[in-house]
Point group: C2
Chain length 343, copies 2
DNA sequence: CGCTGGCACTCCAGGTCTGAGAGTGCCAGC
DNA sequence: GCTGGCACTCTCAGACCTGGAGTGCCAGCG
């Protein structure tokens, strides 16, 4: 990639960081630029002109200061951004918010998203990719005593899914017990993903004795379980976008809000390479036109049995990347722990 | 309340409806044209002056048209707003969106909120007041076979809550069976609300045999169940606010977003009289300063066993009340049905 | 007596103009 | 290669003007 000499790197970093701070074009004799370099504004100007030549900076108009291009941010993020840990106070804040009585994956995701938005002051998205990759552990059918029963499926991660069902005439406790055991035996270890109607039909074929319950079990497993296992997406702190000067005009922000409120669009925007580290998409690197003025900082998290998800922050391309990266990384880490703990 | 003669009512209605449509102050000429009044603008002007005297209209400045005051909207809503049914296409749209595989109360609330926001084109809030008013139905502890067990609580509405627990040494299936039955017997019929630590302690005192499991059960019932039973709030379509001219300046809308993203503030804003009908709060009738430029159209819904919630739309005081009322009423109705059906 | 058209008045929205300020590019000199 | 100087450009904010929309008031009319 681009090779920049030390001074150009310093100038680029200064322009990016000062612009992130002030939201204004950065002039050549700005204090921030001159701080570390003992050279005159005229020298800086020629450096800036060359950085512009390279496509890293640009000009709103002839006599304005410089603003980073998307490519400029890209170089900054890849080569100039030294990572920092999240400040202790923020770590504490995240930890406190996330340890409130963990509930369903959706609740955990919601808490994480709130914590992230609150420390980063950007809209946050947490996708808990459900349990489609989890495995079926057991089915238990428990009589409730009034001709109805409770059917409960446990999955690998220990989450439960179930509903009440009406029992066929003449069913007794030991029937239920045997049916539960048979279905558990047949399906144990299957990934929820693989529980297609055909697969299920085959698995249940053996259990001819309980043929008449087939429909009940089938709907429980397919509709109910698969339905609840779909990815949970939580968005929090969208309001922070309104604090950013680039989004002060509504027409600039409305498209972005549409993405944040549409699960399908979000999923698409976050379908970057599933990496271990923090992934950043800048401005026009995003496919959708609504996101071309935005950056997305995201990180995947993964827990033992294949469930996992994504943590992300949305902001203007003029985003506080350092802080955003630290926050996303920390929350992704906590989230892995929290989800592991809820086994 | 205020008695207005027919012509004043007509003029007030014309001003309100035209202002809702155009978002501009309404001049005497427009009002006359709109209502096909066979009087001259000068006459309308004197009527308007009197309506202003009464506090129903106001003037942005000397030579502008009239705009309704909060009181003006109040009179309009109470006395001049004839209700209409939701258009068939919108009813169909709501029905289609809400019949997607019903899941947890939170999911149902989310679908309802999405449907409502989409037909009304305003931010919607659906509060499913959890099950704190539901009653405890049964506890079942089911062995999983590896020294762990599944503890499941069923409530009156048929929803399940549970988690895996580690079994004490030497527990056998019949112990579990007996413990389950004992706890069920003790707590059956209690409202989840009433399951305070003290109440629980007392209920479990009898079961001395299982003393050593007390903590496990206690944490399951109190932390887990009560935690998951807390009200579910879903907000959808906040982006629609940005389409409203009164919210084009960010400083006007940022406070409102804070309310929409804060469950406590939302709960406060929606804590109006729990009525059967549609409830409207206009502008300064709202307590919180963030909502003084907004109106809230809400309706309660209730299902068999005391669970229920609230459906609401947020908008500018210049809201399309007729449509909002129709949408809120219809969605509240569907929601009652959907929740009853998920028994 | 209520309604009406006419009229003077007010105020805003939007346009042009201007000067100050910030920043640039270029260049000659060190 | 760096620097200060200089001419140039462009924006932004304020001042000023004007057209238009709307009002309030009033005298006259049915």
């Amino acid at each position: 990639m681009l090779q920049l000499d030390t001074r150009k790197r310093t100038v680029l970093r200064a322009v990016v960081e000062e612009h992130i701070r002030s939201a204004e074009p950065v002039g050549s004799h700005h204090a921030a630029v001159r701080e570390h370099l003992r050279v005159s504004p005229a020298t800086i100007r020629s450096e800036m002109a060359e950085l512009e030549e390279l496509g890293l900076l640009t000009h709103p108009h002839t006599s304005a200061g410089r603003v980073p291009t998307d490519l400029g941010y890209r170089v900054y993020v890849d080569a100039l951004l030294e990572s920092e840990p999240l400040p202790a106070a923020d770590r504490e804040s995240v930890r406190r918010r996330m340890t409130t009585t963990a509930g369903s994956p959706g609740d955990t995701a919601e808490l994480a998203a709130q914590a992230l938005a609150s420390v980063a002051r950007y809209p946050s998205v947490v996708v808990a990719s459900g349990g489609r990759r989890q495995f079926f552990r057991s089915l238990h059918i428990v009589p409730l005593g009034d001709g109805r029963a409770l059917a409960v499926i446990a999955t690998g991660s220990g989450t439960l899914h179930g509903k009440t069902m009406r029992l066929p005439e003449g069913a007794n406790a030991s029937d239920l017990e045997r049916l539960s055991r048979a279905v558990t035996h047949q399906l144990q270890g299957c990934r929820v993903d693989d529980l297609s109607p055909a697969r299920l039909e085959e698995a249940l074929r053996e259990i001819t004795r309980f043929r008449r319950w087939f429909e009940e079990i089938r709907s429980l497993v397919l509709a109910d379980l698969a339905g609840r296992m779909r990815p949970q997406i939580r968005v929090e702190g969208a309001r922070h976008l309104l604090d950013e000067p680039e989004f002060s005009r509504p027409e600039r922000v409305t498209g972005l809000f549409e993405v944040l409120e549409d699960e399908a669009l979000l999923a698409e925007a976050l379908s970057g390479p599933p990496t271990e580290g923090v992934w950043i998409t800048i401005g026009t690197e995003n496919r959708r036109s609504e996101l071309q003025r935005c950056s997305v900082v995201s990180a995947a998290f993964r827990i033992g049995d294949g469930a996992g998800g994504t943590v992300a922050l949305f902001g203007p391309t003029r985003m506080r990347y350092r802080r955003a990266v630290a926050a996303v990384r920390y929350v992704a880490g906590r989230l892995s722990q929290a989800m592991r703990a809820s086994f």
